[in-house]
């Protein structure tokens, strides 16, 4: 049983538009694997990382997933960032009964037996953030600008938020929804609009689900147009330490982000995580090693690798089904200092939510956190019909030709 | 002025110019005649370096220019009027003439004698070269070649498309230029009368070879016209 190696797949874009975010996740996964190997591997086997580059190309994600599972016979895959990439590989994982660890916060509304979601569901990020902004300490916002890039995650999150806000008595007229195309880089008019909206009465806050590259021009414009956090705070769900690397944060002090992890969190687990990462980046001469940063998806990746290891050890097998069974209830002391637990049923982590304000040095000042870990609600209660959904992935759906033609249409 | 010896030229597999040797003396007009497709233009293009010479040598005075780039040859003093005008269509007439002055300093004015010779160019200074009529373009091409004051003027069927009165002017001008004694002129022509009246020397080409040559005055006597018949 001992000796030999076993392959694990790493499926993150190293080129194309998503490389900007995903490259570090590949590195952190490799770091965790190296650590595990240094301690003797898993079940006596060394892990052999199998890194491929799906190049931010969604069909290529599916192809690479198939290759990892069926050709290279990896026992688990750590990967994906965008929802569409996950949606693209999902059928492949289900068909071939593979195992995917997905480390990024996302819009929910999905459960798969073959996927473990180590990032946040909306109720572990978006809702607490909005609640905070509504509170006295958050500034007591009454008017809301929901600003995002025009694709599924922002649209879904905003839909959920809209329902949530309504449930809190916010009027339709007090919500402004605004979307920009991918790669949008000119936020002049949008910020002017926000200014106008906010001057029409009541305290206003902005919820930003702007994606990736557009954040830098957005924040630069925000700073230059003098929209201060004390007047109109902006809370973002896709902006972490890495994204702020490219921005001069002095004018942004006070704007917020909600995550399950911040690099600035003071916890022994975090100190060692940061130290390990710094050492690893330096040893591997990674770009940017002079200013090693950690962020939430990196933490989620790290948790994922370790939880998988624990589950394998519990199952005493690399077999997908056994590992899936063993994952339920796994716990791990995350770098955030919280002991995260994998839910017994819904394949999501219980995570604490932190809200941080941007500091002048590009780090976050944690101003609020949940008392303890929050259970994920992949099926948002704010979407009609979800109350009936089971909080558990269904067993592998056996797909066969239906005896009768698919249920009557309409 | 120009000495060509043992020149060979190929297009792909076909042998176009076969072992040509001749001289173009200063102060004289040398005309080259030949039927369609015998390789006259190819010869001139080889002299200009537009197509690289395969074997043989080309000398301008004492300098060997066999393998020089075209612009070096222009600097050595060759002016070229190609067949088919080859003006710069989207440059104005003035700019076309300025291109002709490329080897001179930027402030050099366009020599006025060009406008005396081709008054239409003066009228059309601001018009784009490509908009000119065929004959006007031909005049522009000649004017452009003369602008920099070359030592050797190479003309490929320069009278094509030009009205009779201006052909006469050109004829006079070429004679004046040659008789100044400085300039050598190599003229390719199919227009027999024009060629004959200008030629100090003549050469007849056939299938890439020079099959006859002599003094211009002897062209009629030597039945050159018959050599050109099919």
């Amino acid at each position: 049983q001992t000796g030999g190696t076993v392959k694990v797949g790493v499926l993150h874009s190293l080129s194309g538009t998503m490389a900007i975010s995903e490259t570090v996740l590949k590195d952190v996964a490799l770091m965790a694997i190296e650590e595990i190997n240094a301690k003797g591997g898993v079940l006596g086997k060394k892990l052999e990382p199998d890194v491929v580059d799906p190049a931010s190309n969604w069909p290529l994600f599916a192809e690479k997933a198939r290759q990892l599972i069926s050709q290279d016979k990896v026992v688990v895959v750590f990967g994906c960032w965008t929802s569409v990439s996950r949606k693209s590989v999902l059928p492949v994982f289900e068909e071939l009964n593979g195992l995917l660890f997905y480390p990024v916060q996302y819009e929910g509304e999905e459960l798969s037996k073959n996927v473990f979601y180590t990032g946040a569901a909306p109720n572990q990020q978006a809702i607490p953030a909005v609640e905070y902004l509504m509170s006295k300490d958050g500034g007591g916002a009454k008017r809301w600008v929901l600003l995002g890039t025009d694709y599924v995650y922002p649209r879904t999150t905003n839909k959920i938020l809209r329902a949530f806000l309504k449930s809190k008595g916010v009027a339709e007229a007090d919500i402004m929804e605004e979307y920009t195309p991918f790669g949008h880089s000119d936020y002049q008019t949008i910020i002017a609009k926000i200014k106008k909206f906010s001057s029409e009465g009541k305290k206003t806050a902005v919820v930003s689900t702007i994606n990736g590259d557009s954040n830098v021009p957005f924040y630069k414009e925000l700073g230059n147009q003098g929209l201060k956090a004390t007047d109109v705070p902006v809370v973002a769900f896709s902006v972490g330490e890495e994204e702020l690397r490219g921005v001069d944060t002095k004018p942004l002090v006070g704007h917020l982000a909600a995550w399950n992890y911040f690099m600035s969190i003071k916890a022994p687990a975090n100190d060692s995580f940061k130290a390990k990462w710094a050492a690893y980046a330096k040893a591997k001469k990674l770009p940017g090693a002079d200013k090693p940063l950690t962020n939430d998806p990196m933490e989620a990746t790290y948790i994922g690798v370790y939880m998988w290891k624990q589950a394998v050890e519990k199952a005493k097998s690399f077999d997908t089904d056994k590992v899936i069974a063993a994952m339920a209830g796994q716990t791990f002391t995350a770098p955030s200092g919280i002991t995260s637990k994998m839910d017994e049923k819904n394949h999501h982590l219980h995570k604490a939510v932190f809200i941080g304000e941007i500091k002048a040095d590009g780090q976050f000042n944690v101003v609020w956190k949940t008392p303890g870990p929050v259970k994920a609600q992949p099926w948002s209660p704010f979407i009609a019909g979800n109350d009936k959904k089971k909080d558990e992935p269904e067993g592998k759906t056996v797909i066969a030709a239906p005896a009768a033609p698919a249920a009557p249409k309409k | 002025m120009l000495t060509v010896s043992g020149l060979n030229q190929y297009y792909g597999g076909s042998h176009i110019l076969r072992d040509l040797s001749f001289e173009v003396p200063a102060g004289k007009v040398t005309t080259l005649l030949g039927r369609n497709g015998v390789g006259k233009s190819t010869l001139l293009r080889s002299l200009m370096g537009v197509v690289p010479v395969t074997t043989g040598s080309v000398k301008m005075g004492e300098t060997d220019i066999t393998h020089a780039a075209p612009y070096v040859r222009v600097r050595a003093g060759i002016g070229y009027v190609p067949q088919g005008r080859e003006i710069f269509p989207r440059l104005t007439v003035e700019e076309n003439l300025r291109m002709g002055l490329a080897i001179k300093p930027g402030s050099t004015p366009i020599p006025p004698f060009i406008f005396d010779m081709f008054p239409v160019l003066k009228q059309m200074m601001g018009r784009r070269g490509g908009d000119l009529s065929g004959g006007q373009q031909q005049q522009l091409a000649i004017g452009r070649a003369l602008a920099a004051g070359p030592k050797l003027l190479v003309l490929d069927e320069p009278t094509e498309g030009i009205q009779p009165s201006i052909i006469k002017d050109i004829e006079r001008a070429i004679r004046t230029l040659a008789s100044g004694g400085e300039m050598a002129i190599l003229l390719v022509e199919q227009y027999y009368d024009f060629a004959r009246s200008l030629a100090d020397h003549y050469m007849v080409m056939e299938r890439g070879e020079i099959v006859a040559r002599g003094a211009g005055a002897d062209m009629d006597k030597n039945k050159v016209r018959d050599l050109l018949a099919v």
Binding site: - | R35, G84, L132, G134, G135, Y192, V230
Partner: protein
Amino acid sequence: MKREDPEVAHWRDAPRPWPWWPPARSPEAAAAAAVAAQPSSDASFGRSVDGELDLTKGVVLYLDGITVSFDGFRALNNLTLTVDAGELRCIIGPNGAGKTTMMDVITGKTRPDSGTAFFGQTIDLTRLAENQIAHAGIGRKFQKPTIFAHHTVFENLELSMKADKRVRKTLFAKLSSAERDRIAMTLAQIRLTDSADRQAGLLSHGQKQWLEIGMLLMQEPKLLLLDEPVAGMSDDETERTAELFLSLAGTHSLVVVEHDMKFVETIAKKVTVLHEGSVLAEGSLADVQNDPRVIEVYLGR
């Protein structure tokens, strides 16, 4: 048959996909719109003019009061000219007189600012697109030889051959042996039999001239417009060209522009001299050659 400014009329008549669609303006767009002006596109293409060439008055081409200006410069100035059916007309005139521009107007390449151009009695050339004019029976040889450089000489002739030129027909077209013979004949006529399979772009200047004449012959037009056909040909070949043209006259109408006076002498019956966009003189060659104005502006002393 007087009409208002043809271009204005043309805009008004041009079909618009939607009411707010602006009318076409540039000559190119106008020409393109003319294509659409035909009752229908592909299927009935050309039919409306086919076979309707009406030569009852014995006149093949009427140009009346044609004016063309480019940025204020009048290339054609109220030009009026008629060519009789079967006639071989020579047109001479100084460089820039407007000869090529006139041909552009006849073939639809340039739209006149004003004036009318009729092919026979009925076909209004100012309203047709280039291909329709070609189809109606006007063929043209350009001043600068234009041939299909990447096609073989044979294919050049094949493509210009008179045939049904609709998309569907060319897709399934097969060369009949009669057509093959015609191409072979023309090849012989233009002395390019040996070069039939060579790429046309590689021909020498003179050979291209001949090829273009050959293409024109294949097209079997009723009216041939020839812009400096013998430029770049040797004297001998010029003579052969002259013979060819003379043999065509009568059955065809020809309009020849040339500066080679010897050539004009051999073929000309009636000569028109253009100058500054209008007719300066017209008559027999001898008359014209002795006209002092013609000597002044064109022939020189």
